[in-house]
Structure formats: structure tokens, C-alpha cells
């Protein structure tokens, strides 16, 4: 079993490493210090199981697990935590394996033996229960079997077409499998719906222009694109842009 350890505290990683040495069937394939590192590493080394700390700087464990769930062959995730009331309750509700620090050897062996992949709905439900009010710091895009992370701060806008949502960010464009509605709910109030099919980052709006026919368009920073504003939403968009 190929295992990846994710924890921001060096002594915690060291202890986990030592515990794993005693379990015959395990092979340690990497260590990461936060969620973003874990995702980069997971793409390269392809672990079977990720031992994931929850409270980490940058990207926490719950969000990292959600991104990992986007992979075609996602690893099983076992959460490891010192104390996290909400998360523990969520894990129990959704029958998700977890370990409490300091981790016991027998418990670790037992949990590894029973480790299973988490489904995307399961991961989303855990995130909602464990960290209400908290949103993702990144979006993840699959490309050639690996995950690429897009920091939310770099996103300019989302445009929906028939099946996919296109996300335009500082370094290009990508397709993601999420609905505009769920994105709007998660990232409110930093993102603003300007049209049935578009959601823009409020802070990235450069200007709002009005054509002679009374049609408003939004121009984003550093982009030569005009996004139409629907009539219904024009008042709200103007209020937020000026406000």
C-alpha cells in the first residue's frame, strides 16, 4: 500500500513515518506540509492512501481531500486530527475513517486496512458539515491525470455554456464540472452574477460601460473582453461596483 503523509508539523510527520515502518504492507511514497503540496505530490507519486491532517496553513486537509476526489483514480483519504469537534462529528455522520493524535499503532493499522475511497458527494458533505461558512481557497482542474490548482484570487470570471463552466483566470482558461449556481453561493460576496451565464470577480472589474442602446457591459482588469450585463441584474451590478 502506497502512502502519502500530509501534516504541517515536522514532529507529527516523523512520528507517523515511524509508525508506518512497523506496518509490513505499507510503503511511504511522500510527505507534504500542506494541502496544496499534497495535491501536487499525489499527482506525481499516485498514492493509494493519504493520511491527511486537517488544520494546516495554506490549504487545509478537508479542502485538499475534495480536490483529490476530482482525480480519475482518487486515493483513499484518512483524516488525522488532534482535536476538531465539527470535523469529527462530520466524519462520524458520514462513516469516514479518521485518526486522533497521538495516533496509536493498532488503530493506524486497522484504519489503513479498512481505508476506502471517498465519493465526491461524501467529500462535499463533510466539507459543508466540518467547515460551514468556509469556502475553498482554490479550484482544481484535471489535466493529463494530474490536478492543477487555481487560486480563487486569480479567477476573473466564470462563464457557463451547455454542459461545462469555463473559468477564466490570470494564466488562461479551463473547464470545470461545477454549476454556476453552486459557485455563486460558495463565493458570495466576492463574485457577482451579471448575467444568466456569467459570474465575475467583483475586485477584478475594471469598468462598466453603457452602450447607446442602454446595454451595460463589464470590462475586466487586463482583459480585452466585454461581458454583457443582463437588464434584470444591471441595477444590482452597478450598486455593487460603485459601492
Amino acid at each position: 500500500m502506497r502512502i502519502l503523509i500530509v501534516d504541517d508539523e515536522p514532529p507529527a510527520r516523523e512520528r507517523m513515518r515511524r509508525l508506518l515502518e512497523d506496518i509490513a504492507s505499507c510503503e511511504l511514497v511522500g510527505e507534504a506540509g500542506n494541502g496544496a503540496e499534497a495535491i501536487a505530490l499525489a499527482g506525481r507519486v499516485g498514492p493509494d492512501v493519504v493520511l491527511m491532517d486537517i488544520r494546516m496553513p495554506g490549504m487545509d486537509g478537508v479542502e485538499a481531500a475534495r480536490h483529490l476526489g476530482q482525480l480519475d483514480e482518487p486515493p483513499a483519504v484518512i483524516f488525522v486530527t488532534a482535536y476538531d469537534e465539527y470535523a469529527l462529528r462530520a466524519f462520524d455522520t458520514h462513516a469516514v475513517g479518521y485518526l486522533l493524535k497521538p495516533v496509536r499503532r493498532e488503530k493506524l493499522a486497522d484504519t489503513l486496512a479498512r481505508a476506502t475511497r471517498l465519493t465526491r458527494p461524501q467529500l462535499a458533505a463533510i466539507a459543508a458539515a466540518a467547515q460551514p461558512r468556509q469556502r475553498r481557497t482554490h479550484l482544481s482542474v484535471r489535466s493529463r491525470g494530474e490536478l492543477r490548482l487555481i487560486p480563487i484570487e486569480e479567477v476573473l470570471y466564470f462563464i457557463a455554456d451547455q454542459k461545462y463552466v469555463t473559468v477564466r483566470h490570470h494564466s488562461g482558461e479551463d473547464l470545470i464540472e461545477e454549476s454556476l449556481k453552486s459557485l455563486e453561493e460558495e463565493f458570495d460576496p466576492d463574485f457577482l452574477r451579471i448575467h444568466r451565464n456569467s459570474l465575475v470577480a467583483v475586485r477584478q472589474i475594471a469598468s462598466i460601460e453603457r452602450s447607446s442602446e442602454g446595454q451595460y457591459t463589464v470590462r475586466m482588469r487586463g482583459l480585452d473582453v466585454d461581458l454583457p450585463v443582463s437588464r434584470r441584474l444591471a441595477t444590482e451590478v452597478l450598486r455593487r461596483f460603485r459601492g
Binding site: D8, E9, P11, A12, R15, G33, Y83, Q134, F187
Partner: protein, 366 residues
Amino acid sequence: MNRPASETSSAPAPSFYLPDFCATQSVLAVVLIAELVAIVLTLAREELRHGFWIDLARTSLFLLWISLSSATVMCYSRPALARMSVQRASAVSLALLITVTLIISEVTFWLGQRWFGGLQSSVGSLFPANHLTFLLRNLVIAFIVSALALRYFYIAHEWRRTVESRARLRIDALQARIRPHFLFNSMNTIASLTRSNPELAEEAVEDLADLFRANLRETRIQIPLKEELEVARLYQRIEELRLGPRLKVKWNVQALPMETLVPSLVVQPLLENAIYHGIEPLPDGGTVTISGARNGDSLELAISNPVRQEPSGNTHSGNRIALDNIRERLELAYHGRARLDIDDRGGEYVVRLTFPLKQSALDAAQ
């Protein structure tokens, strides 16, 4: 008793000492008081006119009229009374109660004159004959009984408040102590060190033990500043093991009078907050600065940490408990002469403690 619906729950301040006389419980209490007074008055009478029970019934009827009307008046004037100072509210209540007694006495006398004026029948003798004596007697009795009742309500309220605030302080103090997150992570660190570096593990256990001992101490005592800073350093050492190079703490406290007495556990919880909310969320860590200065008669301590620029959706709560607890303990120790200020402008979160120097030594000497 009918009560104005809107005023019942919202208007009066919860800390006002008079109970809500619209509530069933209070009305029962009022009736009980009236009956007890009626019994006392009847018993005290030298010669009973119509036998004990008739006299008691007569007095009860009269007193119930007065007491229930008083309760109604108090019920409706409570919102206004609650906005006054205690002395003023008491004086106004007393005046209201005496006025109610006066009016009802007058009405009773008038009814007696009007309906049964000339008759010296048994019914007629239910009503008083001498106008002035009747009014005067009732007013004096009303004054004494009302004053006693008000005093009783005041003391009962104060007592309840003391009990409540003591309980709250105790709970707060418990919550402000060691976070479970810190405890279990420290245990994990020690578990890790026992094999790789047993000596360091031993030190960590000692530090943790001392830290717990300091946290279990009665929070009201005052200790030399040196000891208080030492507790914070214990905490720092344990966190350094866990966070490694991500945590840096800069101490700038040489200028402080180390022997001066300060309330215990004011610096360590602030350092804990700074690390938990400031350093831990930063991937590359940062520096917590603890600085102190003597400023005439007061001592100023500032603990600052960098703040992660969070996207607006993610909010951290929880450091309020520790801050509120410290504030409350400073208030208990210095009665308004100590301050805790928070400044979170410009990417830094600074908590500034200011408390009087001389007074702390004086308080301890007493």
C-alpha cells in the same frame, strides 16, 4: 392580568431589580404579601369587631384591591422605571405605591359614605368612619410595607446576579485555559520526540507540566511579572517544537520592572492567541513580538502577530473568549483602571494591555 404584549419581553432591561409584575409568579407573590399583611393587621387589632375571620376577610378585600392595583401600575411603569437609576426607580416606585394606596383608600371611604353613610348597620361598619385617621394610617402602613418589599426585591436580585456572574467567570476561566487542540498536538509532539530525541521529550513534558500547573492556579492571584513571562516562555518552547522554524518570538521586555505584581495568566493566553490565529495559518510562519514599557505609573504590554489576508468568506472566531476573560479579570483586579485594546490595522494584530503599576503592588500588600 392583561399586559401590553410588546413590552413584556423586549422593553425592560434584564438587569433591572424589580420583577415583572405582569408575570403570574409575581402576582402570586403580591397576593401572598397582601394576605400576610392582612393577617398581621387583623391579629394586631386589640378588639375584633366581628370576629377574627370577618375582620380578616374585610382587611384582605381592601388590601387585595390595593396590591393588585399596585401590581398593575408597576407592570405598566416597569419599562420606564428600568431606564432610571436604582435610587430613582425605588423612589418613584414608592411614590406610585403610596399614591395607589391613597386613591383606593379614598375611594373606599367615599363608597362607604355614599352608600351606607347614615346607617350604623353591620354593613356600614365595614367602612371606616374617620376620614383623616383612615387615610393617614393606610399611608404609613403602605410606606413601610412597600419599602420592605422593594428592599427585598433589590437584595434578591443582587444575590442572584452575584451567583450568576461567579458561575460565568468560572466557566470562562476554564474555557480560556489550555485549548484541547494545543494539548493533543503537544502530546503528539512528545510521542514523536520520545524516540528521536528523548532528552527534548523529557524537557517538553516538564514544560507542559509547569504550564498546566500555572493554568490550574487560582486566576485571581497576582504573581511577579517575571513569573508570568516565564509561563509564556514555557508555552513558547512547546510550540517551537511543534511548529519548528515557522514560529519566531521576539521578546522586548528588558525595561520592565520584573518584580511588580500582575494578575496571573494574562500574557500566556495572548501569546497562545497570537500563535493559533496568527502564525499557524501562515505557510511560512511569522514573528510574534512581545514588548513592554513602563509608562509613568502604568505598565504597557503589547503582543503582536502578522495577520493572514483572508478572503472575506472565511472567518475565524474563538479568540474572543480568551480576550473577554482577560478583560474581566483585569476589571476585577483593577476596577476600571486597566485596559485591553485591540488594533488590527495594517496587517498586524496587536493586543495592548495597560494596567497601573503602583496599585498592583498596593493591592497585593493588603
